[in-house]
């Protein structure tokens, strides 16, 4: 695969990156990449994938330093460039698509202004032309209302839409090298394959070389020509995608390949008492119905999964239940008592019993508070715990979610993604809730870490008898954790029932489509699926039938 050109676009030789504390994050890595070629970087969180990806831009995160090696981009060694020269390279010749689009966009500026900034500032295009290209790209990526989409702010679009806007921003200058850091992790399965196909076409057509960082081997298998497996900063294994997947040489790579196995659906728990009931809930965004006529019930110790693609109203439903987004119709009752639609009018006790865990741990934790004060605050706020008792409670909670109590003094910025999500769960548990609403809690995590978090949640459920409303787009997660499933499509509930039943034989056509979009770990799956979709396109949209 390599060597299609004599001069590779990117060549990294003996690269090492160290943190301020002297920890080796990337250890003596060499790689090369030709135009139009995609190299997949695989490994669990903390393996140094992102650090290596950023190093390809000649960049080291705050506190980190590139200590050895050469980074050659089309013959120029980025390590030898001064700040001004680097600035001209970045964005123009190398572009970066970040893991968390929410953190990468400036919340105070409209999307279109941020997308057009680079080409205009680098003098590659006029504002009008850049805007026109952005609109075309919005359309190509199936974003709603492409003409006016860019006028929105980052918090006004869904996570999946923001991630696509980020890809548009990266391609705005037609760079030689594109570094994609988990670009589809936050997307639901159906959107993910569209975006993957779009990225793949884009890369092939433009001759851009790409470093594709992901923890999801099945996703990388669709797009990467070659794979490079990293663990603790070291190269474990590298080779062409098909060969590596078929015959992994090392134990670690074998574990990664084997991880994506199925698991049996969970049987329903013993009949518990109903804790949460939602009847005819409806939410409007302007004149559009974001959620209409949603009804559901959850019993103690039960997990209800809500699945659907991005924009289907899953998160809105969760926020409406918690009162963050006011519902304009319908009722939410907790243990038989009806709750006010607006969280501000709910009692402290009602707020305590219903806890929300957010999708992106990066923005769900206050970066300026210590872990101890984040986790301890609900205990202090609801139960008046303080002093040594509070410190003990924090240590206990951190232990409960499998974190070292010594982390209490740290700040969120010093933790990994998986650790941050555990802190979020610990914060929710500190309130000793009855119901935990989990909004895509594993979406931003790599599979080994996500698996640990899921196991943790199952264990907590068994220990504490918690009820979960578990929002996700990952069907594998649903099979593993949910007792019952609720499927949403365009703001409506199209199917609801026991997991095995909803996902099993005779399922709703939309569920069928969802299942068919789940990436399989073999190259070529993407093309087959897209071809099948095109063939099915004549069949028209799904009927929004009522649930069972």
């Amino acid at each position: 695969m390599s060597g299609r050109r004599t001069h590779p676009v990117l060549r990294i030789e003996g690269l090492s990156v160290c943190s301020a504390a002297g920890l080796v994050l990337v250890d003596d890595i060499s790689l090369q990449l030709a135009g139009g070629e995609v190299l997949g970087l695989i490994g669990e969180s903390g393996a140094g994938k992102s650090t290596l990806g950023l190093a390809a831009l000649g960049y080291a995160r705050g506190g980190c330093r590139i200590t050895a090696g050469r980074i050659l981009l089309g013959g120029t060694d980025l390590r030898l460039l001064d700040a001004e020269a680097l600035r001209r390279v970045r964005g123009r010749r190398v572009a970066y698509v970040a893991q968390s689009a929410a953190a990468a966009f400036n919340p105070a500026l409209r999307l279109i202004d941020q997308i057009c900034e680079a080409p205009v500032r680098h003098g590659l295009s006029t504002r009008r032309a850049a805007e026109q290209r952005a609109i075309e790209a919005f359309r190509a990526l199936d974003l709603p209302d492409p003409e006016v989409f860019g006028r929105r702010y980052a918090h006004e679009v869904s996570g999946g839409q923001l991630q696509r806007a980020m890809a548009v921003m990266a391609m705005a200058c037609a760079p030689e090298l594109l570094v994609l850091d988990e670009p589809t992790t936050a997307l639901d399965v159906t959107t993910q394959i569209e975006v993957l196909a779009q990225l793949k076409r884009l890369i092939a057509r433009s001759g851009t070389a790409a470093l594709y960082i992901s923890h999801d081997l099945a996703v990388v298998a669709q797009i990467a020509d070659r794979l490079l497996v990293l663990r603790q900063g070291k190269l474990v294994e590298t080779g062409p995608t098909a060969a590596l997947l078929a015959r992994p040489q090392t134990d670690y790579a074998r574990a990664l390949v084997a991880e994506r196995g199925g698991a049996a659906a969970r049987a329903a728990p013993a009949q518990g008492s109903e804790v949460l009931r939602v009847e005819g809930l409806a939410v409007r965004h302007g004149r559009r119905d974001a959620v209409s006529d949603a009804s559901l019930r959850i019993e103690a110790g039960e997990t209800l999964a809500v699945i659907g693609e991005s924009g289907s109203g899953k998160t809105t439903l969760a926020y409406a239940i918690c009162g963050l987004v006011p519902a304009h119709a319908g009722r939410v009752s907790l243990a038989g008592v009806q709750l006010a639609a607006d969280y501000a009018r709910r009692s402290r006790e009602q707020l305590r019993r219903l806890q929300l865990v957010f999708q992106l741990p990066d923005v769900a934790l206050n970066p300026r508070q210590s872990i101890a004060s984040i986790v301890g605050r609900p205990a202090q706020f609801y139960f008046g715990t303080r002093g040594p008792a509070l410190a003990g409670r924090v240590a206990e909670l951190l232990g409960l979610v499998g974190l070292d109590p010594a982390l209490a003094g740290r700040r969120p910025g010093e933790l990994s993604g998986g650790q941050k999500q555990r802190v979020c769960i610990a914060r929710a548990l500190a309130a000793e809730p009855d119901v935990l609403v989990c909004d895509e809690v594993t979406a931003a995590l790599d599979p080994l870490i996500a698996e640990e978090v899921l196991q943790l949640q199952r264990r907590l459920q068994e220990q504490l008898g918690l009820a979960y409303l578990f929002i996700t787009h990952d069907l594998a997660t649903v099979r593993r954790i949910a007792h019952r499933v609720l499927v949403m499509w365009r703001g409506r509930i199209v199917a609801q029932g026991a997991t095995a039943q909803v996902l099993g034989e005779g399922r709703h056509p939309y569920v069928n489509a969802l299942c068919a979009s789940e990436p399989e770990m073999r190259p070529g799956w993407l093309e087959e699926t897209l071809a099948r979709r095109a063939a099915e396109a004549q069949a028209g949209p799904f009927q929004s039938a009522g649930g069972t």
């Binding site: 957010f358 206050n366 300026r368």
Partner: protein, 294 residues
Amino acid sequence: MSAGEYQQATRASVRGGGGTTPVAARSRLLSFVASGAPLVAVIVAAAVFAPWIAPYGEAQFVGGVWDPPSAQHWLGTDNLGRDMVTRLVFGARNTISIASLATALAFGLGVLLGFAAAAIGGWLDTLVSRAMEILLAIPVLISALMVLSVLGNSLPVLVVTIGLLESTRVYMIARAVARTIVVREFVAAARLRGEGLGWLLAREILPNTLGALAAEAGLRFSFIFLFIASLSFLGLGIQPPAADWGSMVRENAQAIDFGLPVPLYPAAAIAFLTIGVNRLVDRYLAAIARPGAT
């Protein structure tokens, strides 16, 4: 302030692996001096200890008009024969205390209202924002002249007037910065917990806006300081015989006609303090920009 700054400088050099070599020591000293801390410390010390430091009384006539520098009067005397060094020292005391109080008031009010407007939103935001915009539309100097000529220019009136007028600028910054914070999920988490407005403002929003506010504080202090100087220059600020750097420029302005540098001394003092404060703020911003720093 200087001790903390010094510790910070020391810590930074330890982190950077700096040993006790003469080169490292010199660069550490240079960096400390460049931080503005010594400059501000000297001026603040002069302000605090003015009665003990000053060689003469604040309004004591000790010589002729614009006597040249001598052993008794290091910077000569002013237009009424008062010792220039004494006037500068007392001027620091008067001007800095009023500027600090007015800055504190402007920040207390502007930040509180700005954060509250961003966190609560709705009609409160609209109401306060429009009111602030109306105040902003009138030049500060004009408003101040009107208020001070009606209410007289006692010190409390001066402080409150300047504080209120300047709080509009602080409000704009505080609201804009807070709006980018209130949409984050950790604020939603705190709201969902049932936290009161006080917690939201002080614990969730404030720590994440300190950088922007510190930058603004440095600038705002300098502006208020210069504003007091201009008011004094116009005769509406601190009243004679109390010394302040602005009126000292005015009183001695004519000396320039005789080729004497007298008004340049208080002008230089104003410049030094402005530079010192801004250097300090820059250093603070660099410190909090480091990952993991508080």
